[in-house]
Amino acid sequence: MSTIRSALGAHASRVQRTGRTLPFNEERHLIAHQWLVDEAWLLDAQAYEEWLDLLTDDIHYLMPVRVTTALGAGYDTSPGMAHFDEDKYSLSRRVARFLTEHAWTEDPPSRLRHHLSNVRTFAADDPDHLVVESATLLFRNRGDVREGALVSAGREDLLRLTPDGWKLARRTIMADDAVIRMQNLAIFL
């Protein structure tokens, strides 16, 4: 995942994973896993101000556009295009918008459930960081006419230990759809 090029990720932390998956009973894995479960709860509840506080000021939040390419093409993301390619400012505007009374796409709000699994934690080349992989399946349902919509994605996160606890410094979201089957991505993954 770290080979994905982003047009706006120049500011992102370069810290990378080292070694094999940490054992599931190792404390660093437990910390990372709990962090992700707690975060999923905030995203389900659309508690976006609290969520924003969990992101470092140099956050890079990237969701490339996946493309169908021939085996051996060497790439499966759209060159130079993403769904999200965000820094703290752009994420803060998105959150601020949901807090207005005029973000119609979430009024009435969607019913959201982020199902989280396949959590694997790695030590990083800096002791104050952990790299965490996970799978997320978002179910989103609106109103009473249309069936719910799903987005399935793999994620690679960089968590950083700060004086205020662990925070998210980098996230890459690899959706499993080339054509998103949801009316918009007015959600976070």
């Binding site: 047009a7 706006l8 969701m63 556009v65 493309v67 169908t68 390419t69 021939a70 093409a73 759209s78 060159p79 130079g80 295009m81 993403a82 769904h83 999200f84 390619d85 965000e86 400012y89 752009s90 505007r93 998105r94 601020a96 918008r97 207005t100 005029h102 973000a103 119609w104 796409t105 109103g143 006419v145 249309r146 080339a178 054509v179 998103i180 089957r181 949801m182 009316q183 918009n184 991505l185 007015a186």
Partner: protein
């Protein structure tokens, strides 16, 4: 077949039978009469810059490989093997000198010619049984390009693309020819919305009226320098040839000041002054209007806007090209590209892309609320009550048909077509009038091509 003449007559007077936004029978007619003859956008030349580059795009259900062959000629091949009909290309982009069918191994060069046919001698008796020589994948019935935008028409006898676009070309240049090098595209983002394809096309063709309300939140969070969305009514809408759109009124200033006001650096302003015509520059510099959203009939839209991309007063302009690809009467695949002048400074390209992502596309803060409206409208248009309701799309007209405000005079607006200041539904009515004109005319039946003859029909290549 139901007689639709009453529906079309209502549409022409600006009273829209609500069910046209979710009607299977009308959709079947649209397939034949709208998409069977219009010029439909498929790709931009910058998406396939090198020999062998290809993208696979659809016109409704028809899959085309849009490719640049080894001689640099742009072609569009129907993505179906001449033998048993398998798709010869199942990726959506890439680079290939040949396409080989995975079923029985027939292979075609990227110029479409059939070059490989396993066991030709043993199975067919060689050329005596099946003449391989001269066979090629079916070409799109008609293919042409303008400013690098590649269009297909399913009508072999379609009028030339430039005639079809007509005077809208004047406005198209603002989006696609800010320098001699033209634009480069990134993307598209693709996603499906449960909305009828016409709604987005109409919205971009002239709906300035929705901006202050639908997009109130984007203004409230300080994304724009202008704090009042109601300023939108000071802009004008226009219709020319096959398309129309909206503009913003710019503050006083000369041409350079006005282009810099929306965030173009001076070097880009200088290039625009060399590339755009005197009248194109006068619309901005003298008349004070800056193009924003637009639609080319039937389903290609454009947007140009200039939000803040950081916590400063600086704004950055972006351009998006988007297509409302119909899936059914109640579902549309949106393809949304980011476009930028190829000669723009790299830093400008990056920040313009950021502006695009924040505003439009699958995650865009404008687009999110638009789609919510359009899905809801489509839902409600399916029932029997929607067949009783005529929606009022007569904004800008009095009951007797006279206009609320007169069109702008030539000295007030130097662009072709007809333009009006303020809120109105002139563009939406013009778009749906085109639609009605097509809907009442049966399409010519297309000639059939038998595989043993394929290659005998004229091969069309886009001029680049």
């Amino acid at each position: 077949m139901t007689d639709q003449s009453g529906v079309l007559a209502d549409v022409r007077r600006g009273m829209i039978p609500a069910h046209i936004y979710n009607d299977r029978e009308l959709f079947e007619l649209e397939k034949e009469r709208v998409f069977g003859r219009s010029w439909v956008f498929v790709a931009h030349e910058s998406e396939i810059p090198n020999p062998g580059d290809y993208v696979v795009r659809r016109v409704l259900q028809d899959s085309f490989i849009v490719t640049r062959d080894e001689e640099g000629v742009i072609r569009a091949h129907f993505n179906m093997c001449l033998h048993r009909g398998m798709q010869v290309c199942r990726a959506e982009m890439g680079n290939a000198s040949h396409f080989r069918c995975p079923y029985h191994g027939w292979s075609y060069r990227n110029d479409g010619r059939l070059v490989g046919l396993p066991f030709h001698g043993e199975a067919y008796g060689g050329e005596a049984g099946f003449k391989r020589k001269g066979k090629r994948l079916l070409s799109a019935p008609n293919l042409a390009a303008y400013n690098g935008l590649i269009f297909i028409s399913m009508d072999q006898d379609a009028e030339p693309l430039e005639d079809f676009l007509g005077d809208f070309r004047f406005y198209l240049d603002y989006y696609t020819r800010q320098s001699a090098s033209g634009i480069e595209l990134r993307g598209p983002q693709r996603w499906r919305v449960k909305a009828n394809w016409k709604i987005g096309a109409e919205n971009f063709a002239g709906d300035m009226y929705h901006t202050p309300h639908t997009h109130a939140s984007v203004v409230e969070i300080g994304l724009f320098r202008e704090p009042k969305a109601a300023k939108r009514k000071d802009g004008c809408t226009y219709w020319a040839g096959s398309g129309g759109g909206t503009t913003y009124k710019l503050p006083t200033g000369d041409l350079d000041e006005r282009l810099r006001y929306v965030g173009y650096p001076q070097e880009m302003v200088d290039r625009m002054k060399q590339t755009l015509s005197e009248d194109q520059l006068r619309v901005v510099g003298d008349d004070g209007f800056m193009i924003s959203a637009a639609t080319i009939y039937p389903n290609l839209s454009f947007v140009h806007n200039w939000p803040k991309v950081a916590d400063t007063d600086q704004v950055l302009p972006f351009i998006s090209i988007r297509q409302w690809q119909p899936i059914s009467e109640d579902e549309t695949e949106v393809l949304s590209w980011f476009a930028v002048d190829a000669e723009a400074p790299e830093e400008f390209k990056a920040l313009s892309y950021k502006a695009y992502l924040m505003c439009f596309g699958s995650t865009g803060m404008f687009e999110q609320d638009d789609v919510e409206n359009w899905v809801s409208l489509t839902n409600t248009a399916a029932g029997s009550m929607a067949r009783r309701l005529l929606l009022n799309s007569r904004m800008g007209l009095l009951e007797d048909g006279t206009e609320v405000v007169p069109p702008l005079m030539r000295e007030q607006f130097h662009g072709p077509g007809v333009a009006h200041v303020g809120y109105g539904e002139y563009g939406q009515r013009a778009l749906l009038s085109h639609w009605a004109d097509h809907m009442e005319r049966p399409a010519r039946s297309a000639p059939r091509v038998d595989a043993s003859m394929a290659g005998c029909i004229p091969v069309v290549a886009a001029r680049s």
